[in-house]
């Protein structure tokens, strides 16, 4: 526990003194803010159109749902941006230790690989949580000027954090494969992108294989969260995705011991 804490604390400090966390956070807010504004404008335009139609032709005003149009769109967008920012946050985690030689310190200190990997994973996950959490500001704006349903918003946050955790775990694994940070970022981005769209190929596979491919898709499991449903099978999917990626990382780290 002490060693895990030491690694976690060092990694967090390292994130906070490096520009990358701030740049990534700022870019995340800028891009998501841009989309958020446009989504709200879009929603506004729908409202105007329907009001005009109702005035001109009479009749019932249709129920327009703020959650469906703005919130769902916004969370879909955030998970898409995560695809780009997580590899940038994870790329240095292990690759940099290899490059600078500090891995020799860690591997000759009485800390286990599990403690080291978990410390790194959790530090990056916390940073991701903070960055995604900043978007709560946009939700507050919705609350001030509208009346969103907070239940699905909370569950959508649970979903995006679970998915982000899976992203981070894949990034940690990619970072353990190389000492080049760019290579690590490209590898994790490619892996995430493939698992993002893997469901597409289900259309061209047999029925069983199709089910497997659909199940493996990272995007397939996020939809229910945005509707306000926290399904244990989706939670388990993301948790096992994390576990499996971190287990692969552990295998890579341990492999140096049997690479004679």
């Amino acid at each position: 526990m002490g060693n895990f804490g030491a690694i976690l604390q060092r990694e967090l400090k390292s994130y906070l003194v490096s520009p990358i966390a701030y740049v990534v956070g700022a870019v995340f807010l800028l891009v998501s803010g841009f989309f958020f504004r446009n989504m709200v404008m879009q929603f506004n335009m729908y409202c105007m159109t329907y009001i005009q139609q109702a005035q001109r032709y009479g009749g019932q005003l249709p129920q327009l749902n703020l959650n469906e149009i703005v919130v769902n769109g916004f969370f879909g967008l955030m998970s898409f941006i995560s695809l780009f920012i997580v590899p940038l946050l994870t790329m240095r985690l292990i690759a940099e230790e290899k490059k600078s030689g500090t891995i020799e310190l860690l591997m000759t200190s009485p800390i286990s690989n599990v403690q080291m990997i978990l410390g790194k994973f959790v530090s990056c996950f916390l940073l991701y949580t903070i960055i995604v959490g900043l978007s709560g500001f946009f939700m507050l704006l919705l609350e001030i000027y509208g009346s969103p349903d907070w239940g699905p918003i909370f569950s959508a946050y649970v979903g995006i954090l679970l998915m982000g955790g899976a992203f981070v775990a894949v990034g940690v694994f990619a970072s353990s494969l190389t000492e080049n940070q760019i290579v690590a970022a490209v590898l994790s981005f490619a892996a995430l992108l493939i698992f993002w769209v893997i469901g597409w190929s289900a259309n061209f596979a047999g029925p069983t294989m199709g089910k497997v491919l659909t199940y493996l898709s990272l995007i397939e499991h996020i939809g229910d969260f945005q509707k306000g449903i926290v399904d244990s099978k989706d939670v388990i999917f993301y948790l096992s995705f994390m576990f499996f990626s971190l287990f692969l990382t552990l295998t890579v780290m341990e492999s140096r011991r049997w690479r004679k």
């Binding site: 002490g2 060693n3 030491a6 690694i7 604390q9 060092r10 400090k13 390292s14 003194v17 490096s18 600078s100 030689g101 500090t102 891995i103 020799e104 310190l105 860690l106 591997m107 000759t108 200190s109 009485p110 800390i111 286990s112 140096r256 011991r257 049997w258 690479r259 004679k260």
Partner: protein, 312 residues
């Protein structure tokens, strides 16, 4: 304290270290000497457990570096070839981090960090970001990192590299002061360093041990033929001829250049002290004997000789 038993390391097909065995007793300072690329770093990495040996075993304090890696890790301080520093941390926070992962008790952490920084002359640099330190200071932080948990065994890979002459002396003194309580293995390619700091020297070349002894014994052992330097006033050829006539003289090599007084290196056959005969022969022939001194082989010469023998 350290037992290295027939370890071999292959990188692909090429052997980097071949069948190396040695022991280091508790409190001893062992120097690991060899040209660049001789396998010093690889051997040290295997002792620390960072690299698994392809064949053979190494034990530290009775624990196998491979089977009981964690026990070994608790007992060693290791300064790798490149000091393992986090550039974004200050010296004090870095040393605190290292003391944490080395398992120093939280109550003793502060004093451990202070004393390691003090011993390595980092008192004024505690709050400096490591990225801003000069090479010499980085090396000292690396050394402080290896000392911070007061380990039984210290493995130091080229501890004085990048330091200026005064710092080198300080670090050597520091290492010498560690002997007794700590067992130290240090590597270097500077021979005078090994002879000054180490009680025993292992000379390694192309992955194999070529000699292992005290610096003094090494010098003595390798002086196969005693060499004597004489400075004589007289014609070079006549003196050379005369010197060759002295019994038990194996070879005479005149020093190049110089008029009137010339130097000659006289090599005697094994274990014969020929100084008296040499002196009387020179004086008896009417030449002026200006100087006479025995010439030992320096560690540099021994080293070159050993590594060349290996090459041939």
């Amino acid at each position: 304290m350290i037992e290295v038993d027939h370890i071999t390391k292959y990188y692909g097909q090429t052997p980097a270290v071949q069948d190396v065995s040695f022991r280091v007793e508790k409190g001893e300072i062992l120097g690991f000497l060899g040209p660049n690329g001789a396998g010093k770093t690889t051997t040290m990495r295997m002792i620390t457990g960072f690299l698994p040996p392809s064949e053979g075993t190494a034990r530290v304090a009775g624990y196998d570096v491979f089977e009981d890696s964690m026990e070994v890790r608790k007992r060693i301080g290791y300064l790798p070839e490149h000091p393992p520093l986090y550039d974004d941390m200050t010296v004090a926070s870095y040393l605190t981090f290292v003391s944490k992962i080395k398992g120093v008790d939280s109550k003793e952490r502060k004093s451990a960090v202070d004393s390691a920084a003090e011993r390595c002359g980092l008192g004024d640099m505690r709050d400096t970001i490591i990225a801003k330190l000069s090479k010499g200071y980085r090396q000292r932080v690396g050394l402080a990192q290896a000392l911070v948990h007061d380990p039984d065994v210290l493995i130091l890979d080229e501890p004085t590299i990048g330091l200026d002459p005064r710092q080198i002396i300080e670090v050597r003194e520091l290492i010498k002061s560690l002997a007794g309580d700590h067992t130290v293995v240090l590597s270097t390619h500077i021979l005078s360093e090994a002879s000054m700091t180490c009680e025993r020297v292992v000379i390694i070349n192309k992955g194999k041990i070529v000699a292992m002894d005290t610096p003094k014994n090494l010098t003595a052992r390798l002086m196969g033929a005693d060499r004597i330097y004489v400075q004589v006033q007289g014609p070079a050829e006549a003196v050379t001829a005369k010197l060759r006539e002295v019994p038990n003289v194996a070879d005479v090599v005149p020093e190049p250049g110089g008029n009137g007084a010339r130097g000659f290196f006289v090599e005697s056959k094994e274990k014969h002290d020929i100084r008296a005969e040499l002196a009387s022969a020179i004086v008896g022939s009417g030449f002026g004997l200006l100087e006479m001194k025995p010439v030992g082989m320096s560690l540099e010469e021994i080293f070159l000789q050993l590594t060349e023998e290996e090459g041939n």
